[in-house]
Subunit: 215 residues, 3 copies
Amino acid sequence: MRISRIFQVLVPKEKKFFPLFEADVENIVDAALLLNKLLLSTDPEMKEKYIAQIKDHEKKGDDITHQIFDELNKTFITPFDREDIYKLNSSLDDVLDYINGVALKIKMYKPKNIRPEFIELSELILFSCRELKNAITGLRDLKHPQKIKEHCIRINEIENQADDIYHYTISELFDKEKDAIELIKQYEIIQNLEKATDIAEDVSDVIKTIIVKIA
Amino acid sequence: MRISRIFQVLVPKEKKFFPLFEADVENIVDAALLLNKLLLSTDPEMKEKYIAQIKDHEKKGDDITHQIFDELNKTFITPFDREDIYKLNSSLDDVLDYINGVALKIKMYKPKNIRPEFIELSELILFSCRELKNAITGLRDLKHPQKIKEHCIRINEIENQADDIYHYTISELFDKEKDAIELIKQYEIIQNLEKATDIAEDVSDVIKTIIVKIA
Amino acid sequence: MRISRIFQVLVPKEKKFFPLFEADVENIVDAALLLNKLLLSTDPEMKEKYIAQIKDHEKKGDDITHQIFDELNKTFITPFDREDIYKLNSSLDDVLDYINGVALKIKMYKPKNIRPEFIELSELILFSCRELKNAITGLRDLKHPQKIKEHCIRINEIENQADDIYHYTISELFDKEKDAIELIKQYEIIQNLEKATDIAEDVSDVIKTIIVKIA
């Protein structure tokens, strides 16, 4: 048992991290839903609105991330290993950054087409974020570590699905798209989409580490 | 108070890190100035000279980075948390890597145009590195933590400005540039420029963490 | 002497990490050889076979990586600093990811040409991985730290060679290739190849850190 763990048994654990992480992942789920709406929308005005709303969520997420880091610096006894809180916080922030990145790239690049695979990937991002929310909510009382693990397994499955769609789309793109600039636009957007599910899996890896140490 | 902090109160702090960090950031400021000169220059011979000089600075920076890591491995009591010295060192190294990366890409890609926005961004990188120098110099005696914070705030403002220029230029590029290969060259160079200001902000985040823990 | 080091002197060191790291790097050497064969091959069927085999190695590597992390979470006394085992494990995993990344990109992009420089780089990756294997095998008894250092120096030399080939090829590519989509394909593949030697050097940096702390 590591020294930090011994302390954790003796001293009441600092609980203020849980509401912060819950607010953070809630905000990410909302941003993921907005991204899905953005990709489904064909109305330029609505698109702009969604992009602005995602940006607002990204700012709110940044604030929460900073609050968590501030708490971490001020708190002696943390509910999990300090390094795991650090990683959970920064990897959640990365998920939101990639969601906002997709919105930004759609704004900046104005791609001619939104491929159906983009929409599929945005759905997978949303599903993955919802699983993250369930897993993180479960960390508060830790009564059902098995359930948390199941959420993490589903995130892994979603990532595998996203990977297949990603590889298929890239192959299609390099095979069929003859307009090099359009190819670059689509390529950059799809990479960003895939990366979001990838980082969601990184978050679930951190959660799995936390569960292993505590179980 | 963390255990490492208790030790820091009892034992004289190891001071040899300060001159190393000061030499490191001084070298980075010089490299940033050379990058600005490179982008302003139209003389192919001078350009080559600046690229070679930036490369030399990158090597010098590498040496200092390794010295700091060596000191860190040999030193038991550090002036700040070990992990913060580690992060300060490696993020400073990253700033220099991106500055050198821009120079390298100009050498390798030979873009037809140096956009005015490239020059603006190189100025912002220079301003940001100068603020980093002021902030890092202030870490030595820590008499004015408020002043250090002000330098960090300015780095944040500079990053926001760089972000706006970056987004504007990318939009312009994908809208107006019809030569796909030229677009790739410009795109890669501007991404590298923006990344340099981004990483400078990461350095300032580490500095803010150090200040928070000590104040 | 750091506290973790004092423990290491008093308590028998946990030896189970060595066979895991040796199996990991052995698997990486095999994957690097397959990549070299893939790039040399002109038979589409054999190419597909090599790509599938590299993918299998990547999965096997993932399993070993997870085993090492699991051991790390369960083990109180580690043969080296906990953070160094963490970094050694994840950087080795990155090498394999980049090797698999090259294979995947060849599958997805179907580039018209495999440049001779691609083959040269894949040889350098193989040489570098073999040096890693020798260095990591040497960590077990640590009787010849000087020999381990020599392997690390060779990895550094290989990386410099790879860097020169990389820069030459990128310059050539942007100068001569007029088909923008083919340029993107080649550019992405060569970046991935260069990155693999880069990360191999990161692994050797971790090994050097371990040697310095122990010597």
